[in-house]
């Protein structure tokens, strides 16, 4: 079980990938675009524990794992392993780090060299780090294979002769060859069937207690996370939104995203059909241009309206969705009125403006609004009739701007911190406890 000894410390880690960054692009004056895969994550991993990193595809969980192992260059931030700054390690230090921190990949079909026998695969780390020789080495490989549940007689077989589950065991044996302290498990069971997944999860559990291992388990599967982890960090669009002990996260989730994620998982019981669930609408925004403030605000079912607003959440949500589209200029104005309304570069002729506004509101607004709010929205849409995007966005922003878009909530320092304005500091800086 976990101790209070900190093994890994990640502080403000960022990893951006750059698009349009070739020489040609520069010649043509294209600005490079940053894909913010990991955008400022901080967490600790304590000795002997399993920390889960959970999130949907594209949230940056695998990149976090790779970057903290120094398999990717970080854009910014610091990672300490056993007290040493990983990115400042010299040659010898890095070699030692690579021995102590290992990784198991998701896909057991592409992470094993098809031209090497499994004996050679498991032996390779020993070769690279020049550990053990001769019979001692062979003996070690045999023991490893047996320990992960394979027969040592299979040393001379090739990966293609094994099933997915067995290959994942080979990958685990390879990761264990150098007796590491820390393992990053990147979706170790995602490619496996459930019955085989259970075998591998049990094996990982046994190995952890036998060899005093510390795990960082990256997975999109919440039931795997619940089963295997001591603490969990939930990621959304490159950031950690909530981190805490596994029980707290699953039984009293705070962040609206964590709650929605948990509610979305279908349970394998006959009571599943009657379970109340609230599903999220929309898709994850692009990490090239993440939303300002809280990144979850574009889908959040609990986005915070300005203080004096008398609207239901669903109506406010509808206005926020409309604002989002206008701010991204993601509305094709030409097609609004069909053939009835003439549209040219300067916009719509004066007499057609009311019809244009009605048609546009009909198309973009998902909810009925009270008259005062309907007027504000129509004012903004009328600005669009003159193709004045900025004006339209500004009209709406003035009335409806949320604290969630102004400020990105910080992740606190306590036992179960959450990055959400519903908790902690309010917009004016005053304490504003749990809702």
């Amino acid at each position: 079980m976990s101790t209070d000894e900190r093994l890994v410390r990640v502080d403000g880690l960022r990893k951006y990938f750059w698009e349009n960054d070739s020489i040609l692009d520069r010649l043509f004056g294209e600005e490079p675009v940053a894909v913010r895969a990991v955008d400022g994550v901080s967490f600790d991993v304590y000795e002997g524990e399993t920390l889960g990193l959970v999130g949907e595809s594209g949230c940056g969980k695998s990149t976090t794992g790779e970057t903290l192992l120094a398999l990717q260059e970080p854009t910014e931030g610091r990672v300490e392993f056993d007290g040493d700054d990983v990115y400042a390690l010299g040659r010898d230090g890095l070699t030692a780090f690579r021995r102590d921190a290992q990784v198991v990949f998701q896909d057991p079909f592409s992470s094993l060299d098809p031209r090497m026998t499994i004996g050679e695969i498991v032996c390779q780390p020993l070769d690279v780090h020049d550990v053990a020789t001769g019979t001692e080495r062979t003996e070690r490989v045999r023991t490893l294979l047996e320990r992960v549940g394979l027969s040592a007689d299979h040393l001379d077989r090739y990966p293609h002769e094994f099933s997915g589950g067995q290959r994942q065991r080979i990958g685990i044996a390879r990761a264990l060859a150098l007796e590491p302290e820390f393992l990053v498990l990147d979706e170790p069971t995602s490619a496996l069937d459930v019955s085989v997944q259970a075998q591998v999860l049990n094996l990982l559990e046994d190995l952890q207690s036998e060899f005093d291992l510390t795990y960082l388990l990256i997975s999109h599967d919440l039931s795997v996370i619940r089963h295997s982890c001591d603490r969990v960090a939930v990621m959304y669009l490159g950031e950690i939104v909530e981190i805490g002990p596994v029980r707290d996260i699953f039984e009293s989730p705070k962040h609206p995203y964590t709650r929605a994620l948990l509610e979305s998982v279908p349970r394998a019981t006959t009571a599943e059909r009657e379970r109340d669930r609230e599903t999220l609408s929309g898709d994850v925004p692009s990490p090239r241009d993440p939303p300002s403030g809280c990144r979850f605000r574009t889908r959040c079912p609990a986005v915070i309206p300005p203080d004096d607003l008398d609207l239901e959440q669903a109506q406010y949500r509808a206005i926020m969705d409309l604002r989002e589209r206008i701010e991204r200029r993601d509305v094709s104005l030409e097609s609004v009125g069909g053939d009835r309304i003439a549209f040219d570069d300067g916009g719509v002729p004066e007499r057609d403006v009311p019809a244009f506004v009605d048609a546009l509101a009909d198309r973009l607004l998902e909810r009925e609004l009270p008259p005062t709010h309907r007027d504000i929205v129509e004012e903004a849409l009328a600005a669009l009739a003159g193709v004045d995007w900025d004006e339209a966005a500004e009209v709406l922003r003035q009335r409806y701007e949320s604290v969630c878009e102004r400020r990105n909530p910080d992740l606190g320092e306590e036992r179960h911190p959450v990055a959400c304005h519903l908790y902690g500091l309010a917009a004016d800086g005053s304490e504003n406890g749990d809702r």
Partner: protein, 429 residues
């Protein structure tokens, strides 16, 4: 759960085999299935269990080297029965028609209007060079032309006006006769039906501009174009994230309520089954080993495989102790490697001597629909008749040890000195 208990589809004794270089693969063997109108029927199983091949057999999408070698697929459709009765009397039974006995062209004409299918990977199911709206309109057009000529069982994509030539002409001539304006409008209303916001605009976008969830919605819209009786959904949410999966399942639920459509849902995810299905069939090694209502299978299951499958999933609501995995690996479906015994016996914790002969499907306690292919349905587990642990030899041999063919039916208890999957994999055994 459904208003009527009228069977829409009855599959009897279906066997589908693939004749490959390595030998004959029995992907589906002797499979029985009954889907009632308005129900959601789920087939669950692990990879290689034959669930997708079953779906494709019903859709008539089995391609060489595969072949449906035996069985009957009875589909209830009075109109179709009347149309084919004269020429193919033997294929008609009341208002049921045996799909395997009617000519290929008739069968093909059922795709879209009677059966349609959605797949796991929406990205590869759309043509990247046409807009989503065009592709949907095309699907609508096909169905529209067919319904303009309902008695004709001619393959409608072969007709004159739907030829490659007319397509090429349509790109050059301004009068686009290829896809009519009505079809376009219907395409947009289909997009609206599946919950795509702003369908007018989205119809003019290309597949790459859609997110995975949106594209899956569009694929569902396309499948609905012909208002099919049966929608076959093959792992419809496997490629999606859980929040998007929840959206798609909500959508299917809603469509089912609104249109009364019948759905055959293929998945490996027991949670999705629990969320959606009225009836369930559990597949293992090409057979349905247990079927019945959701409660039969989840709460009153008899087959040790069903038990093992449910025991393998970690619970998201409880921090569990140890998982109980099924030891061993999915068996080979090569004909020569399959003995004439229960196919699960070598991994079964309750294997007895009786399991050495292949068990027939028998009724089990629970609802009328509960049937199971296991001797435990009729007698309880008897330890004195249990097979020794090492009866089937060492279970962790490589999956395809081609150079050393091992025969499964050789009852030679091998020495077991090495740790095996059971030992390492948990205390399931």
């Amino acid at each position: 759960m459904s208003e009527s208990t009228e069977a829409l589809l009855r599959v009897e004794g279906l066997s589908t085999r693939f004749f490959t270089e390595q030998g004959q693969v029995n992907a589906v063997s002797d499979l029985d299935l009954r889907i009632d109108r308005g129900d959601v029927y789920g087939i669950v199983g692990e990879s290689g269990s034959g669930k997708s091949v079953t779906a494709r057999s019903i859709m008539d999408l089995i391609e060489s080297p595969g072949e449906i070698t035996s069985g009957e697929i009875w589909y209830r459709n009075g109109e179709l029965a009347a149309a084919v009765e004269d020429d193919h009397g033997h294929a008609v039974d009341g208002s049921f028609v045996d799909l395997l006995e009617i000519p290929e062209r008739v069968r093909r004409s059922l795709r879209g209007t009677s059966f349609s299918m959605i797949f796991q990977d929406p990205e590869s199911s759309f043509n990247p060079s046409l807009t989503v709206g065009e592709q949907l309109a095309e699907a609508v057009e096909v169905q529209r032309r067919a319904s303009a000529n309902p008695r004709s069982t001619r393959a409608r994509t072969r007709s004159e006006e739907y030829s490659l030539g007319s397509f090429v002409l349509s790109t050059m001539l301004p009068s686009k006769r290829y896809v009519s304006e009505e079809s376009r409008e219907r395409a947009i209303s289909l997009l609206e039906l599946v919950g795509i916001p702003d369908p007018v605009e989205r119809a003019d976008e290309y597949p790459h501009e859609y997110s995975g969830g949106m594209l899956q919605r569009a694929m569902i819209a396309q499948a609905l174009a012909g208002e099919p009786d049966l929608l076959i959904a093959d792992e419809p949410t496997t490629a999606l994230d859980v929040t998007i999966q929840a959206q798609i399942l909500d959508l299917l639920d809603e469509l089912k309520r609104e249109t009364g459509m019948t759905i055959l849902l293929i998945t490996h995810n027991l949670g999705v089954i629990a969320r959606m299905c009225d009836r369930v069939g559990v597949m293992y090694a090409g057979e349905i080993v247990e079927r019945g209502t959701l409660a039969d299978v989840f709460d009153d299951h008899v087959h040790p495989y069903t038990h093992g499958l449910l025991g393998s999933i970690p619970d998201v609501e409880r921090a569990g102790g140890r998982l109980e995995p099924i030891p061993g690996n999915v068996p080979s479906l090569l004909d020569r490697e399959m003995g004439d015994r229960c196919r699960f016996a070598d991994r079964c914790p309750k294997a007895m001597e009786d399991c050495l002969s292949h068990p027939p499907e028998v009724d089990a306690e629970g609802s009328d629909h509960h049937a199971v292919r296991c001797v435990l349905a009729e007698r309880s587990y008897d330890e004195s008749r249990a097979l020794p642990d090492d009866y089937f030899g060492e279970p962790d041999r490589p999956a395809e040890a081609v150079d050393e063919p091992q025969s499964d039916d050789e009852p030679l208890p091998a020495e077991r000195t090495q740790p095996t999957l059971e030992d390492a994999g948990g205390d399931g055994s």
